[in-house]
Symmetry: C2
Subunit: 616 residues, 2 copies
């Protein structure tokens, strides 16, 4: 099978067959395992042509976000293993050097590819390998909105090292091409029409009076510029395109031309998201990331567990809040559906925005709205707020503004793995002065969290998990009060379980299991990590000596470490703290339950540990 | 005096006089107090015209970086207080709403202004104040390289709310204008020449054969595009310019035109850095930020304390390393002099780069070089690495690459204040898996740190202060060894001082003072915060019970908190940890010693605290 998929030296017809085979395989496996569908079937020809013209053994193949790299995986050494796509210990949904030498770099966050390609180009030059190697970055138009891309283009246009950028324009975001004229000009570039036209134009302009010489020169320049490529040309990058991104032959011609040019080139390829799977064709967002589905009908296979996702609860709560309060505004950075903000954009189109992949701008622009008296809800995945860390410090917190950071996908995200885990937000936000940090534990408290955030003065953030909250049982539903924890139950043993956010549900489950073993433990919902409820902890330190921490966060700088500092500061010397937060390593992909088992944080595993701690 | 400075309703001649007065005052005060000279004298007319055309009481005046805002401060309510510029409790070198209502927002980090202006524009629209208010962003060309600017322009060009961007082009970074032609066209925009030329061109093109109609249209478009503004026009932002940024009359005309347009406009103003102070004119970097100087000669007044700065030691050490090892490469993000990388760029122009204000790109591009076998030294101020936090996690640490982060300006930076303090790096880096974190304590160990970083496998970072290291006395100079601390001296008392980085010098000084009082204390140089030397701490926990932490870093997530976690984990129950790291608040500007006194971390102050702790 792998031999059949060798693309080097094949005819165009054979390459087309390979594309059919790849597309079929991708649809088959994604329909079973879930994954990125439309971006992958949309990029089949782009990648087949890459492997035809370039050599993944030596040319750095850099896939932006790499959610379109399935064809590359199938074409290299992972055809057979591909059925384990996104499974625990299986093939990653993203490029991953530890999985294959053909994967040059990881990616999961967008817009890094041109920087990587430029770094590789510098290295290639220093190693004097320019005759044999050229970096190729494959980037979707959706990734072009992030500022990092322009930082890279700015240097690339100046330093002018050979780098080939394949812009996969599937109309996710950037401006539409001008249409007929640009197509006309792009065809012209490949053939000799452009050369002829240039000459003819010059001849015509010869006959014009006075300023003709300068005009001729400028007109010639302008011909190049009136394509959608002018933005790139302006930045000093040669432009080829648009090319039909589903025509392997045209792509090969464009790639070969780019290779010959021996300088920075951008190839603008137009593709259709979902190409080849009719039900998905053209539906940009719906078929981007999917769960298992029936191929014939396109219907989702997995029945829901009946529990509502934290995201949809948030979206509900925010919608109610925004209905009542006209100063509530909000933003998402290219995750309208993922964050539930799409509903708000529909309901309040003048007050909620999707600013595309632009986390820095999202945060800072909302800070100005807060300055003007609005109450912005900045809704971003925990992992993506890392991209606006300085803006959180510099624009929200130094200014002490009334902005809310609603952090979705806090904790383990499952199949997306290392690049997407929401592990660090508590650690990186805690050190920032003026920032208040709290978390809802369940469905009811999510509404309370949104209510509280609205009333809070100063910057605040709250986190909630991917999927649904754990079950916290029937505990009293209190409003949030700054810095106040909630004791869910007292216990007769020495043991106190301290839960934070989605960790509370796990603590409750562990308590139930311990109860079966005859251990009656206390449970505290911490609610706030900053400011933390020192008073209640002080009181509890008198009755409970074994404290166990439950939070979906990194141990370093997390909940347990915050409490360990208090233990030292207030001399709770007899208290022993054990944290079941995440160990100090990047967390791999797979079904969340399997990942948690691997991390030894399933309730059953924790119960054993607690019993062992407590065996005396 | 303030009345004289009222610009509204004044004649052009009177405005020119005001410019002279402002310039004189700025030069006078900066020559005494130090500060940003050339950017401020270069922006006098831009700001005078802003106050003439717009109203700082209602229009948001947004100064990018705000290191050019002195004229604005003098024109609003701070003429008399201006002599306290950058002094402790004096006028800030940046805009600061807590200092004056005329300051709309803080800034110190670059490239936030267009995002802020857009946020303000959204708020103004929602409040229905568009008839009365328009946000104005004043941004230097140097700030235009950061990606955040493009994220903001991308939304602005789409949403098309009225925002006026004044691009102060003092040739710090972006591409030069085309010269004669662009000037010609920009003049044309203001008058009627452009209209005439358009008509004439159309007439000419009428007589051309075949494709003339489409060509006429395109040529007309191209006329607009062949100015330096085409980049902005492409993004949907109207362009006016270039305008002479030292001609108040031209500026007023351009601003008034922009105001009338009622949509996003960029005014491209060309200025001379240092304008009006002949010695500084045109010298971009030398006169950007200066210490006190003699106005007549331009010579620096402050004599050095004879101690070499940590930056210059680093630069020395790196130069020696790069001479010996061809795989050493490095980057700075627009701080070549500040980081000492300018010397490396001179010595090794093919291996060291200044990539402009583009921290994200700087980090990620160097990660690709590491992948190719090079050893990049990414040299960035502690505060600016916040801008590449995600890249540190996603591209350096998940990939576990051999990259070095050399963090300059760690700790208190003095006169730059809140926005620039290097307080958070230990906190935000510690939680990242694979990251090794260490610090030199003095001159000799700086060389050792650079040596160690070269040999270290995986991502690592080390920090060092602004200015010179504290004096650590004559202690043994050992090479760094992963995770190993160095005990500088044993003591006869219960007290252990634990220093990290520049904190070691303070610990040594405190130990000397305590010795005078008859207390003989032990001193540990921690050297590594991650991995930390648990073994030596375990041993020391047996002999020393009062541990005091010295580090120029935030207490939350800092050195003390790391050790408090170990105390809990290893049950060092009799040990009491007290940290003299920074409290949880943003640290204001002023002379470093005064700031440290305010924070109560001067050695003399700490000695008192230790004696009080230890009074039993």
């Amino acid at each position: 099978m792998d031999k059949m998929l060798e693309v080097k030296g094949k005819s165009v017809e054979e390459l087309k067959d390979i594309c059919v085979t790849l597309r079929k395989k991708i649809i088959e496996i994604v329909s079973k395992n879930g994954g990125h569908l439309s971006s992958n079937v949309g990029a089949v020809e782009l990648i087949v042509a890459m492997h035809y013209v370039f050599d993944a053994k030596k040319d750095p193949f850099i896939f932006d976000v790499s959610h379109q790299s399935y064809s590359h995986k199938l074409l290299t050494d992972r055809w057979d293993d591909f059925e384990t796509l996104r499974e625990f210990d299986g093939i990653s949904g993203y490029t991953k050097p530890s999985e294959s030498d053909y994967d040059y770099f990881i990616a999961g966050h967008s817009s890094t590819s041109i920087s990587l390609a430029l770094g590789a180009a510098k290295a290639i030059k220093l190693k004097n390998e320019q005759k044999y190697r050229v970096p190729i970055a494959l980037i979707g138009d959706g990734s072009m909105t992030a500022g990092m891309v322009y930082e890279a283009l700015n240097e690339l246009g100046d330093i002018k090292l050979p780098v080939i950028i394949i812009l996969n324009d599937n109309k996710m975001s950037i401006a539409k091409p001008i249409g007929a004229i640009s197509k006309f000009l792009s065809h012209a570039i490949a053939g000799d029409f452009f050369q002829n036209m240039k000459k003819r134009t010059e001849q015509i302009l010869q006959y014009l009076p006075d300023s003709a010489t300068y005009m001729a020169k400028k007109f010639e320049e302008s011909l190049k510029l009136i394509t959608p490529g002018m933005l790139f040309e302006e930045l000093g990058i040669d432009y080829i395109g648009p090319v039909d991104g589903h025509n392997v032959e045209d792509l090969i011609r464009a790639y070969e031309l780019a290779k010959k040019l021996n300088k920075p080139v951008i190839i603008h390829a137009q593709t259709l998201k979902g190409k080849g799977y009719e039900i998905a064709e053209g539906y940009e967002e719906n078929w981007h990331g999917v769960g298992p589905f029936d191929i014939d009908s396109g219907k989702a296979l997995k029945s829901s567990d009946g529990k509502r996702s934290a995201t949809s609860l948030y979206s509900d709560a925010l919608s109610a809040l925004a209905t009542e309060n006209e100063n509530v505004v909000g933003v998402t950075a290219a995750m309208p559906t993922g964050t539930g903000i799409s509903r708000l954009i529909n309901e309040f189109p003048s007050r909620f925005w999707d600013v595309a992949i632009a986390e820095q701008h999202a945060v800072t622009s909302m800070c100005a709205m807060a300055k003007e008296g609005f109450k912005p809800f900045i809704t971003i995945y925990s992992t993506f707020l890392q991209r606006a860390y300085d803006q959180v410090i510099h624009d929200a917190c130094i200014m002490n503004l009334n902005v809310v950071f609603a952090l979705d996908r806090a904790g383990i995200v499952g199949e997306d793995g290392e690049t997407h885990q929401g592990a660090f937000d508590i650690s990186y936000l805690s050190a920032i002065p003026n920032m208040t940090i709290f978390a809802p534990r369940d469905e009811k408290s999510m509404y309370r969290a949104v209510e509280y955030a609205y009333k809070h003065q100063g910057p605040c953030s709250f986190r909630y998990p991917r999927g649904s909250f754990g079950d916290c049982g029937d505990v009293e539903d209190l409003p949030f009060e700054l810095g106040k924890a909630q004791l869910l139950k007292e216990g007769t043993s020495d043991i106190l379980l301290i839960g934070y956010g989605n960790g509370v549900g796990r603590a409750v489950k562990v308590a139930k299991l311990l109860k079966k073993d005859g251990l009656d433990v206390a449970i505290l919902d911490l609610r706030f990590i900053k400011p933390i409820d020192v008073d209640i902890l002080e009181k509890l330190s008198k009755n409970y000596k074994d404290w166990f921490i439950f939070s979906d966060s990194s141990k370093i700088g997390g909940v347990g470490s915050t409490i360990a500092c208090l233990k030292n500061d207030f001399a709770w010397d007899s208290v022993k703290i054990t944290s079941f937060e995440y160990k100090d390593s990047f967390i791999k992909h797979g079904n969340t339950k399997l990942v948690e088992e691997y991390l030894e944080i399933l309730p059953e595993q924790i119960v054993d540990k607690i019993k062992n701690c407590n065996r005396e």
